[in-house]
Amino acid sequence: MNKSMTTKDIIKKGLLAGLTVLSLNLIGFIALLGERELIKGWFTLGHVFLLATPVAIAYLTTNKMEAEGKVKPLGIGFVIGAIAALPSVLLVYIETTTDLRQFLANVSPALTELLTFGQGVTVGSVLLILLFGLMSAFAAFISILDEKISKPLVTAFAWTLGLATFSEILLIRVRDLFGRGVAKAIFSGKSLNPISAILLFALVMGITIWWSKNGASYKEKIANVTPAKKKQMTQGKSILTMLVILFLPLILGSYLTEVTNNVGLYILMGLGLNIVVGFAGLLDLGYVAFFAIGAYVMGVLTSQGALGLDIGFTFWTALPIAVITSTLFGIMLGIPVLGMRGDYLAIVTLGFGEIIRVIAVSDVFKETLGGAQGILQIPKPDFFGIELVQPGQLYYVVLGAVLLAVFIATRLRDSRLGRQWMALREDEDVAEAMGMNLVSTKLMAFATGAAFSGLAGAIFASKLTSIFPHSFNLIISINVLSLIIVGGVGSIPGVFAGALILVGLPELLREFAEYRMLIYGVLLIVMMLFKPEGFLPDKSRKRELNPDDDLGLAEN
């Protein structure tokens, strides 16, 4: 590739980056993130995303070009960056001469201000081109550097940018844990101040360099300890993990705990759908239906409002009924779709999900389900008389449910039923020829999946104290499915990774909220290209997607 790198290729790559940047500008992504300062007075999150594409493309293009000297890769990087800036420069000129907002609402003076650094059109454009060029050249420079130097640099950049991105939340935590003075010293306004950013950068770089020098000997030491000591170390590790999990709400504070609770509910649903889609290979797009059923059962049984049955149900007595009802609906959905596979199954389940939502919103069941007004005044769970109101208290309800679900999912995966699901996923006919009852195998998958989702729904209803039909949109099914794919289909740790990435991160980066679907899309495409098996993949799927590794020989 490096040999055949022609001028045409370079221009093509530059334009590719430029058009990507242009479209990010046009949809308002950059302008919105431009309001979020990362390092006080230096740059915003908008700048990061503005530069991300050309920098990434320059890095990938010049990667492994050490052989060609230093000047050529740097030059290529610069040219790619400079070309990438051109469409945005053009946009700035158009914006200042004509008002495009009638057609493109996001092409505003604020965007021009951001793109020209407030220096006027001419100077600003030159600055923009230079910045793009220099940053891309810098990326090219890093790509040809020796790993010993480039790795600490990249790591330090990533940590500084990452922590700066989450500075708003960090600020609150630092203030609560260490006091106002410390917070003031590190942050200015909601963003990092330049001095703390530089210190952070230096610190991370120092640690990375130190580790690359001494890490190997440490690892060796750990590998050479006696088995008894090793066992002690693993025990210590698991005790530490348990303690962290147990006291997480204290560390995180109430906002982050609330986010964790939401992630936990998605994990719960993810574990359930993972059984249906990941283990048994049945593509279910109506999974939100069981979540809704669990929530509505909880609502109807316990609500103190006009719609509540008021026959003495508490959270804990209603919970099993909600789960059982969802399970029964899971079987009910399973029976008619027994003979269906693949796309057909997906469409029918999609319809099922919509039917449940439409029933909930319809006037026919308004007397019991509340129609569009939903069910209100659902009590929070209580624990021996203590009402669990705070996120930090509800955390333990969610935690308990997730632990139970993980336990059940793991045991099922390794059971005979798990084997049946696996065989079913691979080949229905062969599974049957092996002596497996497909009917019960499929129904068990649907039922277990539905039970987990119903449990999540019941907790959700009690946590929110009110439920509305529009909370049970198709988008929830899509979210859960996406998080499974991102984490690795069929992998239990993958569900955690997926939920953290797709549910946790967007909650923390509320600026992204409007563009969540865009990010999902980009993330999924990038995943399919670079890590098709997911972030924490299941063993056998990893094998399937990388058959070239060791001629497909399994590790064990």
Binding site: R416, R419, Q420, M422, A423, E426, D427, D429, V430, E432, A433, M434, G435, M436, N437, L438, S540, R541, R543, E544, P547, L551, G552, L553, A554, N556
Partner: protein, 237 residues
């Protein structure tokens, strides 16, 4: 009474009358083959016997029991096994895991271990590749894997659907040798084949199917020299 008795079965795909009264008997210890052209109903016959399809008329009895309409997964417990057309291996699992899947219907660990050894003796190549992922095996190896996997359920009757399909000639020989070995060890074989010459050379008896009916039935040797069979299926002018 014969081991397997298929009595005048009629099977339909929707409105299509696929089998128009097929009757077959298989005695214990035999190799019996069904030959015929594409669409003659060979695979349908096999799928009906193994319970994947239900005949609309007629009856099937196996080991003196009426099994008409018994679902496929239950027949495995009555020690009837089938290797489906196109092999159908669990592509993501290793060779060994595929074999272990094959013994799903059994719980006698000692017997399973013994049969696994037996399968590895039968297909030494599988032993070499026991940690390899099945999807990366060649076509012939996959056929061996599928056959071995069926043997892992310790069947008394083994039914094979087109084991030679898509295989290189040298591998066809290897697969057919294995079938003969399996038969010698006491498993009865019902074999569906398009490669009539190969099938008849190892079989005791053969049935010739045409458009859902049996048009000929005789000893394998006699079928080989039958003029019509020679013309239609053996390519002899």
């Amino acid at each position: 009474m014969a081991m397997l008795e298929v009595n005048d079965i009629h099977t339909y795909y929707g409105n299509i009358h696929a089998l128009k009264g097929i009757s077959i008997t298989v005695e214990e210890g035999e190799i019996v083959t069904l030959i015929g052209a594409n669409g003659a109903g060979k695979t349908t016959t096999l799928r009906t016997i193994s319970g994947l399809l239900t005949p609309r008329e007629g009856s099937i009895s196996y080991l003196d029991k009426d099994i008409t309409g018994t679902p496929a997964h239950e027949l495995v417990y009555q020690r009837m096994a089938m290797v489906p057309e196109g092999r159908g291996v669990f592509a993501k699992l290793t060779v060994q895991e595929n074999f272990e899947m094959g013994s799903y219907s059994r719980t006698d660990k000692a017997g399973i271990a013994r049969d696994l050894e037996r399968v590895y003796t039968l297909f030494p190549r599988m032993k070499e590749r026991r940690k390899q992922v099945a999807g990366t095996l060649s076509g012939g190896e996959q056929q061996m894997l599928a056959t071995g996997r069926a043997m892992m359920s310790a069947p008394r009757l083994l039914m094979l659907d087109e084991p030679s399909m898509g295989l290189a000639p040298v591998l066809v020989d290897a697969v057919f040798d294995a079938i003969v070995d399996i038969n010698k060890e006491g498993t009865t074989i019902l074999l569906v084949e398009q490669n009539a010459l190969m099938a008849l050379s190892i079989a005791n008896r053969g049935y010739v199917l045409q458009t859902g009916q049996i048009v000929l039935h005789d000893d394998a040797e006699k079928l080989k020299s039958n003029e019509m069979v020679q013309k239609a299926y053996l390519g002899v002018d």
